[in-house]
Amino acid sequence: MIFLRNVLRAPARSLMTALGIAAGLALFVAITAITLDLREQIEGAADTYKLEIVVYERRATSPLSSHIGMPQMADLRARYGTALSPLVIGSLNEKWNPYALVVGVTPEFLRSIPLTAGEHYAEGSGDAMVGEIATQKLAVQPGQHVTLDGRPVRISGVFRSGSRMLDGGIMTGIAQAQAMLTREGAEPQYTLALLRSGQRGTAATLISEINRLYPSLKAIPGTEFSGSLRLLRVIEAFVTTISVVALVGTCLVVSNTLLMAIAERTREIGILMTVGWTPWLVLRMLLAESLVLCAIGAAVGNAFALVLLRVVNGMESVGFGWIPLRYPLSLAAVSFAMALGVALISLLWPAAVLYRMQPLAALRHE
């Protein structure tokens, strides 16, 4: 195991290099895990509630920042009846959760939400249901009250939606949600509407119909919902940028370590070249060292990422349920593949140095 002995030749430097790789990969894994999870949650919720068609304001940058006025929603409801479910979505800055997600739903929609405790609230009661994660954080039971928008709201039940984001928030009636989320003096509004296909036509014909009849609205298939969220697009761009920066930094760290190894072992490399080793053989030895460092870095990086997610998840300012505590094995596999890529890319510069090296000059190196 010559390469292991070489790695252990400068243990502090090898440790620092492995930690540098770990930090870069941990950053990549953690933020990718958050993005993947966010998309998965939104797509999961869309799947759970069978979002066939999503209708939102055309000029809104994303469905969640959409505003649909009362008259227009009334018109939509008159046309599509119970197949259409208006939704009011927003967040409140509460002491117990700075991003308390509030979702206002219709009684028909409400019935599709499974409960783990208590019961669905009665329409017009002003009561609310609290998500499973929020109830654990708040330590409230059905029948107790939480403060929302400065007023006490009775909790009728605890729901489990399958989406941690929703489970960290609250569901209540449309009117109650509008009252909480609309600024004083402003006209109450809806955020978006969900439409099911059926007697009035297929999803494609309904989408086409809405886009034709309501120029100020936009209808999209539920499968495109997560992709249309500006938040996700911004996060994905951010993740890509951070990942590239982290990986370039990691490559530079490993390259630097290998260049230092070459500088320290120039004479030994000269000896090996003198006895017939080609630069490729020497490079292969360095590749083994690079792979060891990157493999250790990837393993430690994944451990770091899990710790990082747990720490961020515990930060109350982030909000309940927004951060995953684990991530798919495929992401860990990707991180190891990236470590392999780092090990290979990092060899480019050292390879150029090795191929220029002359055995005699290397032997005379002090």
């Binding site: 010559i2 002995r5 070489n6 030749r9 004479r267 030994e268 000896i271 090996l272 070249m273 003198t274 006895v275 017939g276 080793w277 080609t278 053989l281 002359q358 055995p359 005699l360 032997l363």
Partner: protein, 223 residues
């Protein structure tokens, strides 16, 4: 008198530096035959190491030519490959790789040769046995004596059974006992394998034991 074709033919070999201001080697011509042990003597800086470097394809001559086994070295396209098959090097300061055991150091040329691991191990172990170093095979160079290191360096030089051994002050750092051992090993190889051993040395004992002596002074052949 040996009438066989020379294994090594050096003709008008020069190596100049700084545009000719420094003449490390100047018009050296000589021949040496297989099975010979030739001592290369002369004061420090006379050009012994330069000559060995040029013969060993570690450096390029300014003019002149070197032929090994009839092959003009100027025509060799892969110097590393040529060294691997034809030349063994022994240096003054053993030059072992610190993170390789003695066995791995001896095995190193065989790795370049592309031999399978088992075959490499067997051949390197046998070579260490001949050097009476079997008990030290798994030791790192730092954990053995200077004499043992140099014997291992000789083993590494001989492992590919080269036709030409270039030894640059191989006993310069050894005591008298190890000096004799290393010299005997090199001479035994020359005799048994029919190899040419060219030894650059200051040591009169080695020079005296060699079959022939070539003396350099200021880059020129004087005897």
């Amino acid at each position: 008198m040996n009438n066989a074709a020379p294994l090594l033919a050096v003709e008008g070999l020069s190596r100049h530096h700084d545009g000719g201001a420094v003449k490390a080697l100047d018009g050296v011509t000589f021949e040496a035959r297989a099975g010979e042990v030739v001592a290369l003597t002369g004061p420090s800086g006379c050009g012994k190491s330069t000559l060995l470097s040029l013969i060993g394809l570690l450096d390029q001559p300014t003019c002149g030519r070197v032929c090994v086994a009839g092959q003009n070295l100027a025509m060799v396209r892969q110097p590393g490959n040529f060294r691997l098959h034809q030349i063994g090097f022994v240096f003054q300061f053993h030059h072992m790789v610190a993170t390789m055991t003695l066995l791995e150091n001896v095995e190193a040329p065989l790795i370049a040769l592309g031999l399978p691991r088992a075959a490499r191990r067997e051949r390197a172990s046998n070579m260490l046995k001949q050097m009476n170093l079997s008990a030290r095979a798994d030791f790192l160079p730092a954990n053995v004596s200077g004499g043992e290191r140099q014997r291992a360096a000789v083993a590494r030089a001989l492992i590919n059974r080269p036709s030409l051994i270039l030894a640059d002050e191989p006993t310069g750092n050894l005591d008298r006992h190890n000096n004799t051992i290393v010299l005997n090993l090199l001479m035994a190889h020359a005799r048994s394998q029919g190899a040419l051993v060219l030894i650059a040395t200051h040591n009169p004992e080695i020079a005296g034991a060699a079959d022939r002596r070539i003396e350099l002074c200021d880059g020129r052949l004087v005897a």
